[in-house]
Amino acid sequence: MPGMSRNSVIALAASASLALLATACTGQSGAGAGDDASKETTLTFWHAWSAPSEVKAVQDLVAGFEKAHPNIHVDVVGNMTDDKMNQALRTGGAKAPDVISSFTTNSVGKFCSSGALVDLNPFFEKSGVDPGKTFPKAMNEYTQFDGNRCAVPLLGDAYGLYYNKTAFEKAGITAPPKTWSEFEKDAKKLTIRQGETYRQLGFMPNYHGWETTTEHYLGQFSPTYFDKDGKSNVGKDPAFAQAFTVQKKLVDALGGYRRLETYRSELGDEWGPKHPFHTGQVAMQLDGEWRLGMALDTKPKFDIGVAPLPVPDDRADEYGKGYITGTIAGIAATSRKQNAAWELVKYMTRDTDAVVDFSNAIHNVPSTLAALKSPKLKYDPRFKTFLEIAANPDSTTAPASVNGGVYLTTIQQFGYDYESGKATDLKKGLQQTARQIDTDIAQAK
């Protein structure tokens, strides 16, 4: 084999390394709301639902719209992930969506601040609709950023407490806990150790425990994530320290981080039939309204109870609230049919019967105050708890941010460090977390 010169070596190294790199650059076309919604037109609607029953529910919803607006036709495209939607919103084009529906509220700040979705305030005003009187408070909050309302709630999710009634009876517990102190006592009573592991765990408190994320815990402590200048409040608002302390106490009381993590690794996944609440391996579960149907489908060998999550002892009067999130809908800035698109968005998100029918089919919480009270809602009596949580004015959500959910993952990351004992100084850790959030937001602006 011939020898290689120095330049050849560098050239070969460079060529090999170049293979690591790739990039893309796209633009955004101009559009507007100059179309006539009374004329014949076809809209493209992208949504994320994928299960056959859900896809049918969306089709029925759209069919109802087309019946009410015979001149507007809708091409429905399902199973679209946020990645695909973001790409389409950036590039626009003939096949790009006019209306999108995303499962996550985390991107609302990015959608609004970047102008990817149009501000719907003028549309609401033109239609004489007051969003504050139409949607529950928390849902109203997570669909806007800095006064720009670029999204509308399209059904919602409310978080509550599921509990194993049979296990409660065996442990001599007569009612679900209302405060975190009661909750800790009950969780300990419900925990049955078996050597290094558990025969039954009262509650999985770890932040990796499916829905026991920091923001879902924090919802019960009504924190103020940002001050009026938009700076992180994590280091200042005592609600954060209180929430982290409650969770850490639970972790320590129920066996410690490492033992709980090992037990968690033995358990089934969140979306499968072997979810530990279904199997009775965990007696209480923080979860969304969808868990009820999923749990009942597995025909568990115990009675399921549903209640609001506990509240801090000093906020006992707020019992009944919960964390709220949900699906959102919006109009693409690249759409040239924005007035027609508004008719579709308005129908799907505001028409009480349409919202109720959709909620009945999808088993999510309705997203308008009128629909929450509708007698046409069909549900298991236990589902009513979630309707009440959604309508509760004390219920909370995580606000939209310019860099999406990054601040939530930063808080969650500190949560992992704190629950595992890697971080021990709570005050210092929260202050560092706040600084990191501010730095990340400054980077995104």
Binding site: T23, N106, E266, L408
Partner: protein
């Protein structure tokens, strides 16, 4: 022949050369040169894919290096994997290659057995390993426990997650085994015979006959191993996700690196920054760090070991 005719002939020759080279030149420009220049350009821009790019100077560089909390853990993990995983893979691949070339019976069966794991799709293989190494229910820890040995947390323990990934990489050693087998079978038999006549021990035959003959292949394995490890994305991401129990569903937040950022690698940061945070500028910074690192490693290895030059050819 006049000067004019000579010049015309040279020009025609140059054009012909260029024409033959053009497919490569076009490919190189479109797929290598343009992305590289764009990456450098965007590393100095604020660009989220929605608004037009805006010049920010070295702000993205300062953010990634000084303030992005995942950068240094990812860099440390990537370097750990480059040093430990690549070394072990090359040593193990060579060892298996030597073993297979010495086996006289059922050679085909053994070759197939060792090569098959390499064909397993990375996602499926990683999920299978996460199952086997599950600290609560996995058969590996059950066996270790029965034998009275310590039972590591593997993908659930930050101390053991990278060794677990290394085990996974060693399991799929088929590619290197085949390359080393071909190289080992190519070593002239006369050299072994001469060494034996000189009274060389098996180790001396390996050290002074086998190794010099296959050194370009060893170097090839190391260089490609380093580049592959720099691009290591799928296995650590899947292992972290499966072990964490967090299935990235609609509306769920998932930061890669479980447990405790121990499975974070630089390519995961490119995705995290570029496609989860829409901070393309910072993603380009991480891509350029990867570029610089892989170039430095490759140049260093090629220069120190004399590149792809066989013994006796220097």
């Amino acid at each position: 022949m006049s000067t004019l005719t000579l010049r015309a002939k040279h020009r025609r020759s140059a054009l012909r050369t260029l024409a033959f080279l053009s497919p490569w030149l076009i490919g190189f420009s479109v797929f290598f040169a343009y992305p590289l220049i764009s990456t450098v350009y965007f590393s100095f821009m604020r660009y989220d894919g929605f608004k037009p790019p805006a010049w920010v100077g070295t702000k993205n560089w300062a953010y990634v290096v000084e303030h992005y909390p995942l950068f240094w853990p990812a860099l440390r993990n990537t370097l750990w994997l480059v040093v430990v995983m690549v070394t072990l893979r090359v040593a193990f691949g060579l060892g298996v290659g030597l073993l297979i070339t010495r086996i006289k019976t059922a050679t085909g069966v053994f070759r197939t057995l060792f090569y098959l794991p390499y064909l397993a799709p990375p996602v499926a293989a990683t999920m299978a390993f996460a199952f086997l190494l599950n600290p609560g229910t996995g058969p590996v820890d059950s066996l270790l426990d029965r034998a009275g040995l310590p039972t590591p947390g593997w993908f659930n323990d930050p101390t053991w997650s990278k060794p677990a990934l290394t085990l996974l990489a060693l399991w799929g050693i088929g590619d290197l085994m085949v390359i080393f087998m071909a190289a080992l079978l190519d070593v002239p038999k006369e050299q072994y015979e001469a060494a034996e006549l000189d009274g060389a021990s098996p180790w001396q035959r390996f050290r002074y006959v086998t190794l010099p003959n296959i050194s370009p292949i060893v170097m090839f394995a190391v260089v490609t191993g380093v580049i592959q490890t720099m691009q290591y994305y799928t296995q650590p991401l899947i292992a972290g996700k499966v072990a964490s129990g967090v299935i990235q569903g609609a509306g769920t937040q998932f930061e890669p690196g479980y447990p405790d950022r121990s499975t974070l690698t630089l390519p995961q940061l490119v995705y995290n920054l570029g496609f989860q945070r829409f901070d393309y500028g910072s993603a380009c910074v991480v891509a350029l760090v990867l570029f610089a690192l892989s170039m430095a490693f490759t140049a260093l290895l090629m220069r120190r070991r004399g590149g792809l030059i066989q013994a006796g050819e220097r």
